[in-house]
Amino acid sequence: MTKEELMGRIKELMQRDDTLSQEMILQEIPEWDSLTVMSMVAAYNKLFGIKLTARAVMDCKTVADLIGLAGDKVS
């Protein structure tokens, strides 16, 4: 999966209509909430077989950090 594709998935999980960029600070995105954190955990497990904790997702500062959690599964 490419970074752009994953970003599209993250946008869907957030249920965000506006665009998303890697530099965006999660805390400043209105759609970023605890429900999205839960969906991220489930999505990474389903997409990549990666078991994340909610804590690890909440420790992310930017969209790029979220993509970083996928490691070498994205190119």
Binding site: Q15, S34, L35, A42, K46, A54
Partner: protein
């Protein structure tokens, strides 16, 4: 000890009484600043829609009393044979005496009857069953009445969205009796006491008694408001704990019982949150149709979630041949209990609604 195998005891009947004041998620719009999109997201993901709460005078004991009366009358139970009454609650009537003693009197049970309380929440039904099954197995009692009830709505702050929209109030009564020795029931229990403060009401008992400070409502950065006398939950940590431990506990009990997952007809999970239940099921390879949900109908009922799921979603399937059922309760403590048992010919009426009573 964390595992136990018990022979010769069974559940004969379960009755659940829900509180009667309906609350709908849509009524809570004000707490979401009118953000309908967010509210719909919560409804869809957490599975919340309806829940029922008690009025100021009604307690868990009242709901349990009502469930117990229904069960005893409908099943024609001889009260003299009830050798023990166990009350599982985290919302007792009094600091003392035990709520079980109050209920023993209200139900007019025999003097030859043990009665005690157990202070557990989400794992409480499994603990209650375990104690009751042990008493029947070692012949301490022929019949045990297990009452499990909570009114968590009395502990939440309406302005705290992390807990308030989740919880409904209910009480239940379960009858445990002796049966043929080849019926085996498996239990396992775990505790993570270092995380005792991840789900907690910090003030009001004896570690921190109520005062002006503890009553003060504090607004937190996440937009939620509560006092130290209200229920607090660290949602992220409880979520992580659940997804890490519960799939392991399921694997453990299946191994202990020498059963495979296909041999299990139902996986009854504590109704914490729809997304959590679906995630545990997915991680454990359990098909979703084997993991019934009643959270949209009643909310998270604390220790009553498991009996409410049985009476709410499985009752028609429990009057015939044996069903293998795995029950999993997890949460406050942090504490989790798992049970694998056979259910057949169970008296299990539809969930009733509390009709009031005399509060004295």
């Amino acid at each position: 000890m964390s595992k136990s195998l018990i022979s010769g005891a069974k559940i004969s009947g379960i009755a659940v009484v829900s509180a009667d004041n309906l609350k709908r998620m849509d009524d809570d719009m004000e707490y979401y600043n009118g953000d309908k999109k967010k509210l719909e997201k919560v409804k869809k993901m957490v599975g919340l829609d309806k829940r029922y709460v008690v009025d100021g005078q009604t307690t868990a004991a009242d709901l349990c009393e009502s469930a117990a009366i229904a069960l005893i009358n409908d099943m024609g139970v001889n009260k003299e044979e009830i050798g023990a009454l166990i009350m599982v609650t985290q919302t007792p009537d009094y600091f003392l005496p035990a709520t079980s003693a109050y209920l023993h009197g209200k139900l007019n049970l025999s003097k030859d009857c043990a009665a005690f309380d157990v202070s557990l929440g989400c794992s409480g039904y499994i603990y209650g069953l375990w104690l009751a099954f042990m008493m029947v197995e070692n012949k301490s009692a022929k019949t045990v009445l297990l009452l499990v009830g909570d009114t968590i709505s009395k502990l939440t702050n309406a302005k705290d969205k992390t807990v308030s929209p989740l919880f409904g109030d209910a009480g239940s009564a379960t009858l445990i009796q002796s049966c043929e020795l080849d019926r085996k029931t498996y239990f396992s229990f775990h505790t993570l006491g270092l995380k005792y403060d991840r789900l907690i009401v910090p003030a009001g008992a004896f570690r921190k008694q109520k005062n002006q400070e503890t009553a003060k409502e504090i607004s937190y950065g996440d937009g939620n408001t509560r006092s130290a006398e209200n229920l607090y939950m660290n949602g992220a940590e409880v979520f992580d704990f659940t997804l890490e431990e519960i799939p392991l506990a399921i694997k453990e009990i299946l191994g202990f019982a020498g059963k495979t997952q296909d041999e299990i007809d139902y996986f009854v999970f504590h109704q914490a949150n729809k997304h959590i239940i679906e995630s545990i099921a997915a991680l454990s390879g359990v098909p979703s149709e084997k993991a019934p949900l009643v959270i949209s109908e009643y909310g998270n009922l604390s220790s009553v979630s498991i009996p409410a799921t049985i009476c709410g979603a499985m009752r028609q399937d429990l009057t015939g041949p044996n069903k293998n059922v795995l029950m999993s309760g997890f949460g406050v403590g942090l504490s989790w209990g798992t049970c694998l048992l056979g259910l057949k010919d169970i008296y299990c009426p539809e969930i009733g609604f509390y009709k009031g009573g005399n509060h004295d």
